[in-house]
Symmetry: C2
């Protein structure tokens, strides 16, 4: 029984202790607050730190907070949707709050509260999906980042270069794709509540995107500079790593 107690009661004391530690550092005030320090938030946090920008980090997963502290990160344990915790993290003085919590519901809750209580903060938000992005646009958020958008396009750029496109042209195409897709997202957000209207508008937007990228290729002939030929691929793949 003692063992069981140690296992199940210690984490509770751990949590209490963390809350007290948190109160110690109210005097710290940074230009950036990051709420949520999972894969998304921690990459961002490392990048900002490496660029010389200090950020106050909030995370509600006590195991992760422990591990991150051992790795040298300064992380506050706490629920970022609690206004008192946001205040002590410096939300009244900071310039930017990044909402990067794993759960979309909690992240949305944070965004709503922040907009209401700290209207001077610029809120930049991680979105899990296109549908979440629509909701955030409706909430009046301009800085919405769909979490897998850029990496899927980097993979696409690498596919194009493996197939013979020039790297420069492929990267340029992916940048234009993001630009058109962000515009389409704003257009589609207004049509999404009627399924047949949404499907029609999606088809239309996809065609517009393709036409615009085709036009980019014509304007910038470098992008046609690839030696794409399906026969040669089959040969290459026959001579592969057997």
């Amino acid at each position: 029984l003692l063992l069981v107690n140690e296992r199940f009661i210690l984490p509770y004391f751990g949590t209490k202790e963390k809350e007290e530690k948190e109160a110690d550092t109210i005097d710290e005030s940074n230009p950036v607050i990051i709420a949520g320090f999972g894969h998304f938030g921690s990459t961002l946090g490392r990048f900002l730190r490496a660029s010389g920008i200090r950020a106050t980090i909030l995370d509600n997963d006590s195991d992760r907070v422990d591990l991150l502290r051992k790795m040298g990160f300064k992380v506050f344990y706490g629920d970022a949707t609690r206004v008192d915790i946001l205040k002590s993290a410096g939300a009244g003085e900071a310039r930017i709050l990044i909402a990067a919590i794993d759960s979309p519901e909690i992240n949305f809750d944070l965004v709503e509260k922040t907009k209401k209580i700290f209207p001077n903060l610029t809120v930049m938000v991680r979105a899990k999906s296109r549908l979440d992005a629509y909701e955030l646009l409706d909430m009046g958020i301009n800085d919405v980042y769909r979490e897998s958008l850029d990496t899927s396009l980097r993979l696409g750029v690498d596919v194009l270069t493996k197939l013979g496109f020039r790297k420069y042209s492929a990267v340029r195409a992916s940048q234009n794709f993001i630009k058109y897709d962000e515009a389409a997202l704003r257009e589609l957000a207004r049509h999404r509540h009627d399924q047949s209207d949404y499907i029609f508008t999606t088809r239309e937007q996809i065609q517009i995107q393709e036409q615009m990228l085709n036009k980019d290729r014509e304007v910038n002939p470098n992008i046609n500079d690839h030696a794409w030929d399906s026969d040669s691929f089959e040969e290459k793949s026959d001579n592969g790593n057997n």
Copy 2:
């Protein structure tokens, strides 16, 4: 009861019909196969199509397949981890297979089977997290894409520009960050089975990354060209959108 039957039996017939439709198109052979057409795969698929590259798409969610077809995508309904389906999708002739299935377990299963049965295919893989990326590196996959890496850094670039960095310098720093982080990932993969060793090496790698980015800033003085000043932020935020 009839209503219940219609509800629960019709989707089954729907599925049967899809499998038959699938068999029709065995003759189609594209240089690229995309397995998994969620947020990651569909963005990639739209980008490739807009770039003039045909891809064979496999997805195992019949509702999603229906919706995507209505939107004008050519999608095969089927379990990509089944070797017969992979064969009929042209895995024997294609050049690149992209494993972008939502479930990491199923995605890993696909990667293992593809490497074994279609060794000529270049396999490019979506990873959910850093831990999944370690597993994939262990499996001998070189083209591993952590799904939220690039978007979190684009957000980071936008934070830096809001704080006064020049866009060019911030983008350059993010590109270098990815380069160093990919190298660190390969180093850390070897240390991850011993927790204290892993924590030590992580701290070390983070320090190395920061030193290298600092060095980049010294070599390329443009990156110091920002008017970062914490007092001016507070002023700006006082004059914000109240």
